[in-house]
Amino acid sequence: MKISILSLSFIGILSSSILFFLSIASIYNVHAATYDFNFAAVGDWGCNSNTDATVKGIANTKTTNKLGASELVLGLGDYSYQPTANCWLSKVASIDDNMKITIGNHENSAKTGFNQYKKSFGLTSNAYYSFDFNNVHFIIMNTQTPYTVGSSQYNFIKDDLAKAAKKDNTNWIIVVMHEPFYTSPTSCKIASCQGIGNLRDTYHPLFDTYEVDLVLGAHLHNYQRSFPLEYNSASSSKPIITSKIASNYNDPEGEIYVIVGTGGINFHKLIGKNSYIVNQQSSFFGHLNVDITNKAQVLTAKFIQNNGKVFDSFSITK
């Protein structure tokens, strides 16, 4: 009888312990799901079979990243390259459930489908905005509308950065824009393909002040990823490299700048490599795939070619 009572007590304690641990695990999983997510980013898509391959690559990332298919897709500008958005909207229909876009120079007017993009993605006429996704604050700039000091866009970005930097639950600040601050030399001949001095002089100091982590752009039809960079007021086209480590960073000073203009339209050939660029290529279409993991303490990014191979990867830990 004594043994039976002891056995029953033991079973009771064991059951309670199991239930306790299960509930703890369940709470942990809920939190992990809240923190962790995956997003994809790419621009300069076009409307051809390479665009289809890029869409397929983004949809198939469940086999190559930790977290499954992308929960958020960022369009980095230049979509259909046609008078209407119809073709491109049709191409991305399978991945547009949670898609945010910035406007590029190929859709910045009524003649190139701006109103269609505006309506499809719920944009305002200014088309700059910000949003939070879990512990990441995204700022979508519009390089096709006025952005200089005193403009409504500048005031919005400055205020938004200041607020984001103060939020306790914001672990990462990521800025998206079409035309980039910095680039290696390419075959693209127009002035905006050289890196826009006025844009970087206006915003790079702000990004340093408010500790932006990652800046994503396109416009150049290739892939380029920089070291962490701070603004160089003495010579702004030569930013200060704050870490010469190639891939795994521990909360570095400055921001990492990535150009992902590899959606499918064509390539601007890279004809040199600037010292602040770690990796670059102009031979493969593909997208940048980013995992936010470890309770939003780790950002891991990979450039995945449309053939499934990973060309470049880096991580930032906080």
């Binding site: 051809n48 079979s49 390259y81 075959s187 001949k189 127009i190 393909c193 064509n266 601007h268 053939n307």
Partner: protein, 130 residues
């Protein structure tokens, strides 16, 4: 019996010549570029090809004929007939005379595959008659 010996060289010649002509005809590369000229502001271009390696990749380069430098490039996957019809967009380049070169590039390493040949077509910005 002797009549058959007389016909034998003719039959053998036919057996060699017919497949050879078929092979040449099949591997004849064709490229159509529409339009093959336009404005510096930019325009959509349709590239249509056939006769390349089937179910593989064809690389294309838009080459400045004066400086021999690549202005734009890309690749497309071929269908079972070794062709494709695809759209790209030409802008961000200077006025001038160009050639668009196409060649088999199975692994998309930007290089002509071994034992393959390429084909090119003229292209200009702006159009000559403008």
């Amino acid at each position: 019996m002797s009549r058959y010996y007389i016909l034998l060289p003719a039959i053998m010649s036919m057996a060699i010549i017919i497949p050879l002509f078929t092979l040449i005809a099949y591997s004849q590369k064709n490229v159509t570029i529409n339009p093959n000229c336009g404005t510096e502001e930019g325009f959509e271009v349709t590239l249509e090809t056939d006769g390349f390696e089937p179910n593989s990749n064809v690389h294309w380069d838009l080459v400045d004929t004066i400086n021999n430098t690549i202005a734009l490039s890309g690749y497309f996957t071929t269908n079972s007939s070794g062709g494709f019809e695809e759209r790209t967009y030409v802008d961000d380049i200077n006025s001038g005379d160009y050639k668009i070169k196409f060649f088999d590039d199975a692994d998309t390493n930007d290089k002509l595959d071994t034992n393959k040949t390429g084909i090119s077509r003229d292209f200009s910005i702006p159009c000559k008659n403008q």
